[in-house]
């Protein structure tokens, strides 16, 4: 039987209350959102904290997808299922729908949150790749107010983020630009499993050329942030199969997968290239309305 080591349970009633509790309890306290990454780690005794601060009551305050003219804002407590079922996200950033369909399973998706997913900072985590592709910024709140960091600044390395001890992630936001679309491609060993490799793409095409494109990969090394070299190679060029292959080759060269039970490093490199190609192809087809 797996049970976490003993800890004290606290429940936050608001964002300010949660931050106040973290400040008072110190570094031995941790927030628990959906609990679907943290509790398994505590059950396996890979992690231990003296206090857990439950933020599920903050779902009213932090569970939202807000579409504004120039940006979309997603509250940290928005659950996977809510992202999957959001009609606004489906029409403007289908990458979320693509990814959420294959993140874990419906029961896990009923609990897990975007905030927990990003703060877990697991290199295999799908939403980090999605947020990297859509050029998201993370809003971090502490006792002294808010700061906004890019995904590249947010993700410090495996299981490490820019969120400090008495701080929490409150929101993820990203720009809305015309003439763009997005897509996500994932290969897993079985339904509901973590990716062997996955790839997210957001692209913008105007006047027959790619004006911008961003790629985020998951599970191919400690660093899931974007690959600027791909964006550079794509900008100003007309979409074509050759161009997608070129982008895929850059992805394969850039990533640093290791051989593990999910596959060999060589296979993962192959997937990084192939999934980058597929996701680019699909995102561009969606801009043209050739695919939904």
């Amino acid at each position: 039987m797996q049970v976490p080591a003993p800890f004290d349970y606290e429940r936050a009633t608001s964002v300010d209350d949660a931050i106040g509790l973290l400040a008072r309890l110190g570094a031995t306290a941790r927030l628990v959102a959906g609990g679907h990454s943290l509790l398994p780690m505590m059950k396996l005794r890979l992690a231990h904290f003296e206090y857990l601060v439950d933020i599920n009551d903050l779902h009213g305050e932090l569970g939202y997808v807000k579409v504004e003219p120039t940006r979309i804002r997603i509250g940290a407590m928005t659950r996977h299922r809510e992202l999957l079922e959001s009609p606004e996200l489906l029409s403007s950033f289908p990458i979320f729908h693509d990814a959420e369909r294959v993140i874990a399973d419906p029961l896990v998706r009923n609990r897990g949150t975007i905030g927990g997913a990003l703060c877990q900072a697991d290199p295999s985590e799908d939403l980090s790749a999605v947020c990297t592709a859509v050029d998201a910024s993370c809003v971090i709140r502490g006792l002294d107010g808010e700061r906004v960091v890019s995904m590249a600044e947010f993700y410090r390395g495996p299981y490490e983020t820019a969120v400090g001890n008495a701080e929490m992630l409150t929101e993820v936001r990203f720009p809305v630009r015309p003439h763009g679309s997005s897509a996500y491609e994932k290969v897993g060993r079985r339904a509901g499993d973590w990716p062997v490799v996955s790839c997210g793409v957001a692209a913008w095409v105007e006047g027959g050329v790619i004006t911008d494109a961003r790629v985020g990969l998951a599970a191919v090394g400690p660093n899931t942030t974007g690959i600027p070299a791909i964006s550079q190679a794509l900008r100003g060029r007309a979409p074509s199969e050759d161009l997608y292959a070129e982008a895929g080759a850059i992805a394969a060269a850039y990533c640093a997968p290791v051989t593990d039970q999910r596959g060999s490093a060589a296979y993962k490199r192959h997937l990084a290239a192939e999934l980058t190609r597929r996701a680019l192809r699909r995102a561009v087809a969606r801009i043209d309305g050739r695919e939904v």
Partner: protein
């Protein structure tokens, strides 16, 4: 610490440790052993119960997190001595053999039909995709859910799969 929640419509209060998992709270503190405890790693879904109307894996929810909320378990499916149609569907269509996954499957299937009274086969398979059954190969579980959907829609005919026992 004290935790108070509603389980199958009844308010319960118990003294628990903060680290107690909901699955053990239900089984060991309330003797509701219908909820099964399987892989312990949120993969198998044998522990699926409803939390505020949504199926969740009770091995990955703290009992304390359910405080102030509503939990429904397989024991809460039967109403006034009548089995739920989803339970009758599993009976008619042999939706189980060993029965270990069944309580979780029933809770997920009930939640599906509440949201979507006439799900397609892919929708049923998707809804139960977080749960493992090692006996049926899932085919008879899918048929059981279809039986219950047809029963509730009043469209079940004698030609439908599964004859009454």
């Amino acid at each position: 610490m004290q935790v108070t929640m509603t389980v199958n419509g009844e308010q319960v209060t118990r003294d628990v440790e903060g680290r107690l998992l909901l699955v053990h709270f239900l089984r060991d503190h309330l003797a509701l052993t219908g909820t099964h405890w399987g892989c312990d790693t949120s993969n198998c879904g044998a522990c699926a119960v409803w939390l505020d109307g949504e199926p969740v894996k009770a091995c990955t929810v703290l009992a304390a997190m359910a405080g102030g909320h509503e939990v429904r378990t397989v024991e809460g499916l039967e109403q006034f001595g009548e089995l739920d149609s989803i339970q009758r569907g599993f009976m008619h269509c042999h939706g189980l053999q060993c029965g270990f996954c069944t309580p979780g499957m029933l809770m997920t299937a009930r939640a599906l039909l509440d949201r979507n009274p006439s799900p397609s086969e892919p929708e049923i398979r998707e809804a139960i995709s977080g749960q493992i059954c090692r006996c049926t190969g899932y085919a008879s579980i899918v048929r059981s859910v279809q039986w219950a959907a047809a029963e509730e829609a009043g469209t079940r005919t004698s030609a439908d799969v599964g004859s009454p026992p």
